[in-house]
């Protein structure tokens, strides 16, 4: 066991984690933040994407101990004062989710892409979301939503 201190959605947590615990399971099973989902074993699907110091990271590719001292945002921390983040709101307006399982990761990947200034046109958005798989929407409405949130046509 190793003691780590991390900030998640603005709340500081100190906890003992096993060296082998993946960050995604620390979030889900230790902190009860089950909005971050798990879809594969190979870092392929992107469902578990969270923001680490503002950048999107697949939380199955990080160990919990590596998050020591870092600031994380999960889907639960994106809405402010009850108001959806503009990317969440755009997903709602454009019907960019169906079953919702990939949605937390997809939304956070999109937030990171927009904040990095990389969501410049449709092709860039499609390339930028390559690491996040959705089986329901065919991506059409996701691209529409991210374009709208990024202010590109």
């Amino acid at each position: 066991m190793r003691r780590v201190a991390l900030s998640v959605n603005g709340t500081r947590h100190e906890l003992d984690v096993e060296p082998r615990d993946l960050l995604v399971y620390v979030l889900r099973e230790r902190l009860g933040l089950t909005g971050t989902t798990v879809g594969c074993d190979t870092s392929s699907c992107g469902s578990c994407t969270v923001l680490v110091n503002g950048e999107s990271v697949k939380s199955c590719t990080m160990l919990g101990v590596q998050a020591d001292g870092l600031e994380l945002t999960t889907i639960e921390g994106l809405a402010r004062n009850g108001e959806l983040h503009p990317v969440q709101q755009a997903f709602h307006e454009h019907h960019a989710l169906q079953c919702g399982y990939c949605t937390p990761g997809m939304v956070l990947a999109a937030v990171s892409l927009i904040e990095a200034g990389e969501a410049t046109d449709e092709d860039a958005i499609r390339e930028g979301l390559e690491g996040n798989l959705c089986r329901c929407t065919g991506y059409h409405n996701i691209v529409q939503a991210v374009s709208a949130a990024a202010g590109v046509s």
Binding site: G39, T42, S44, H92, Y101, C102, E127, L133, R135
Partner: protein
């Protein structure tokens, strides 16, 4: 939040989804997010061999491992089962139905066949200990190929059956061979449709709890809570009345969460033995082995036609992989396409034969479209081949053979209630601008451009909305095809709608609320739709086969009629007028000619609850249930086109445009309909260009992760162009199914486009998926 606030205008409006409120905040309740006090974790040990005799299973080390509470082999749990995992569709009288138990105890028959379970205090400890289970296998020969499996001397999946042939099923009109013999032109083509792995992004999962009283609660990532409930009785002997199955939020299914997999009864059996809740969550690699696959069919399709292009006969023979065991509806999947091998065309002579074949592979079962993509693919590919043979334009050949009048009874015997295939095709051509695509294609061909352009078409129909119970009975399906819905007014006027279908992305909470809001003249936000829990919805047959709206939606409409009828009687009694004197509009009953004398339906509901002044003999409360058994299937149709760019040096194919025009009847929510089309189309495109579940010669699965089985991302796909043409279905809402149309139509459009791009080089066929290697090889073979 609804975009439409006034009542009476919800159907046809793009109302934003109620479901999003939780899901967008990460507040979905998928099974893996659920935890119960004292909960244990189950891990499943699976066979690494496709076919092996189990010589011994030693659980000693696993049982001694840290955190392990128990470990069981198949022999240990043999007395827990009163029956095997059920197959509900014995398609012929003499079908071979091998026994299938949750754990194999003597022989394993596919790579991934479960042989033992380990139960421990945590997910990680259960998986660690599963590694310590020591199974001694004696490997046996295996085959994953349907044709090799039927050859003499092939390794048998079930030795005691003496054959790998599961069944032969035939549907034939009288004069097929005569029509073929008399035809001016006969075209026969052969096709291989590979295995597809459904890949719902949420893997399967089960959480089971057994109370000391014997009450069982199962939370399951399933499309079919009601089917799970009766199957659990069949396997475990626990009465259905003591079993509650809850499908919480479910992260996609596409057919792969219909089945009754062994892990559910295993979790219940183990929870019953240990007196603690038990959870099992599938890993993706497990999902590829242990969750059903789709397709894996070899076809030979023949068209007979006049020289003018009138198709006079269609004959299909298909060899369909069952896999190693029969899951819930494995043998019946081909039959779901059996009646539509004439597609949207009027073809008088008809023959379809399916041979079901056991192979040493993961069982096949329903994957989006189930039987209909298989039929539509071979049909639409062969339409292009026939057009080439006749020298007739591909679009004109389709148009010439379209069914023109409805209702239309097909040679296969079923009746299409409605459609207008010309209208869909006209709309498609309008959107496509074929002339400019042809001009660009010509230009690239004449300049010898490395990147060649192709356009492909698919005009289709499909039968969905499963299904008329009598027809299901006649084709030997074990249960019915009806659906139920309940509308319940609470005393103060809010409304609960309880449905028997169980969504996993289809937006039932929104769509069904729209139907009730319009019919009863109340706001959509007044209505809550409850689903996915057998304790709330005792009657239901769940979600598959594009049935929820076409069957469940009609049940809901009939429940609404009953509500209005009862409320009308209450209002007439209270206002002391005859029921005939009342008009119902905008949520209120008013006296004809005296509109100031009125009561709202919510006032009627309050009166029904107080019961102070009801007609003599009327029961208090305003709650009505309707069960609807559809008289016919649902018949969507349409016209799709794909435009592809093929790099002739590398074989790389890019989809550059996809245009889909569909007739799904009256759209209740066009935004949601469009989303279903996008998703469906994408799964067909994926099958055409990327996805293939591949086994080696020893029946080892080669595509075991998302890094080798290529689920496309946004980067591989274009945005789509979609439109609807509308003919009302023969039901009170005019609605048809839409969940599977895109997948059914799209794969042949894409492959037809790839072949079109290369036809000037002499390429006439490319097997799905059109990988760079296959395309490059086809070009080399055609041009060498």
């Amino acid at each position: 939040m609804a975009v439409v606030e006034e009542t009476g205008t919800y159907i046809g409006a793009p109302v934003k989804r109620k479901e999003d409120v939780s899901l967008l905040r990460g507040r979905g309740t998928y099974v893996d997010g659920l935890t119960l006090p004292g909960m244990l974790w189950m891990a499943v040990v699976r066979s690494p061999y496709a076919h092996a005799r189990i010589e011994s299973i030693d659980l000693t080390a696993a049982r001694a491992a840290e955190g392990v509470v128990a470990a069981y082999s198949g022999a240990d749990l043999a007395d827990d089962w009163v029956g095997g995992l059920p197959c509900a569709w014995p398609v012929t009288e003499d079908i071979k139905m091998p026994p299938h138990y949750p754990l194999a105890s003597e022989e394993t028959r596919y790579q991934g066949d479960p042989v033992a379970v380990v139960i421990a205090e945590s997910r990680a400890l259960a998986k660690d200990a599963a590694e310590l289970v020591d199974v001694t296998y004696a490997p046996l020969p295996a085959t994953a190929d349907v044709e090799k499996a039927l050859a003499d001397g092939a390794p048998l999946v079930h030795e005691d059956l003496g054959t790998n042939e599961c069944y032969v099923w035939k549907l034939e009109t009288d004069d097929v061979q005569a029509a073929i013999d008399a035809a001016d032109v006969v075209v026969t083509r052969r096709y291989m449709q590979p295995r597809l792995i459904p890949n719902a992004i949420e893997p399967r999962g089960v959480l089971a709890q057994v109370d000391p009283t014997g009450e069982v609660t199962v939370w399951s990532a399933t499309q079919t809570p009601h089917i799970q409930r009766f199957a659990l009785q069949l396997v475990l002997g626990i009465p259905e009345s003591k079993i509650r199955v809850i499908a919480p939020d479910v992260g996609g299914g596409f057919g792969s969460k219909i089945q009754v997999y062994g892990e559910a009864p295993l979790a219940v059996a183990v929870a019953r033995r240990l007196g603690r809740p038990v959870k099992w969550i599938e890993e993706r690699a497990e999902n590829y082995l242990g969750t059903i696959h789709g397709r894996d069919v070899v076809h030979e399709l023949t068209f007979a036609a006049t020289k003018d292009g009138d198709i006079t006969a269609v004959k299909s023979e298909a060899w369909c992989a069952m896999g190693a065991y029969l899951e819930l509806v494995t043998p019946g999947i081909p039959l779901l396409g059996a009646w539509i091998y004439s597609g949207p065309y009027d073809i008088p002579n008809y023959s379809v034969t399916f041979t079901g074949v056991f192979t040493h592979t993961t069982p096949t079962d329903a994957y989006r479209g189930a039987g209909r993509p298989e039929a539509t693919y071979v049909l639409e590919r062969t339409m292009d081949a026939l057009a080439a043979e006749l020298g007739i334009d591909r679009v004109e050949l389709r148009r010439r053979n379209f069914v023109k009048e409805f209702p239309h009874t097909m040679a296969s015997g079923l009746t299409i209630d409605s459609g207008d295939y010309h209208a869909s095709l006209d709309k498609l051509l309008e959107l496509l601008d074929l002339d400019s695509i042809r001009a660009e294609q010509e230009s690239r061909r004449s300049s010898g451009d490395v990147k060649q352009l192709g356009v492909g078409f698919s005009t289709y129909n499909e039968m969905c909305g499963l299904a008329p119970s009598r027809i299901l009975g006649a084709i030997r399906y074990a249960v019915g095809g009806w659906e139920s819905a309940t509308i319940r007014f609470q005393p103060l006027g809010s409304v609960q709608v309880v449905i028997g279908t169980s969504p996993h992305g289809q937006s039932h909470e929104t769509t069904f609320a729209q139907i009730v809001a319009d019919q009863l003249g109340i706001g959509v936000d007044t209505i809550d739709v409850i689903h996915g829990d057998t304790a709330s919805s005792q009657l239901g047959l769940d979600t598959y086969g594009s049935r929820s709206l076409a069957v469940g939606g009609i049940a809901l409409h009939h429940a609404g009629e009953k509500i209005i009828e009862k409320a009308r009687a209450i209002v007439a009694h209270q206002l002391e007028v005859s029921e005939d004197d009342l008009e119902f509009s905008g949520g209120a009953f008013s006296v004809k000619g005296s509109p100031d004398r009125s009561l709202t339906i919510q006032e009627a509901a309050f009166a029904a609850h107080t019961a102070h002044n009801l007609p003599d003999g009327m029961e208090p409360g305003l709650e009505q249930t309707a069960v609807f058994d559809p008289p016919n299937f649902s018949w969507p149709g349409g016209a799709h086109a794909a435009v592809v760019e093929v790099d002739t040096e590398t074989g790389d194919t890019r989809l550059v445009r996809y245009v889909a025009v569909d007739d799904v009847g009256q759209p209740v929510n066009p935004m949601i309909v469009e989303g279903q089309v996008h998703g469906g189309v994408t799964q067909g495109i994926a099958a055409a260009l990327y996805e293939e579940g591949d086994y080696d010669d020893d029946a080892n699965l080669l595509t075991t992760t998302m890094t080798t089985y290529l689920v496309p991302s946004a980067a591989e796909l274009p945005s789509y162009e979609t439109a609807l043409t509308e003919t009302r279905a023969d039901n009170p809402l005019g609605v048809k199914g839409v969940g599977e149309t895109g997948t059914i139509a799209s794969a042949p459009a894409v492959i037809n486009a790839v072949v079109d791009a290369l036809s000037h080089l002499g390429v006439t066929d490319i097997q799905m998926p059109a990988t760079p290697e296959r395309v490059w090889t086809a070009i080399q073979e055609a041009t060498s």
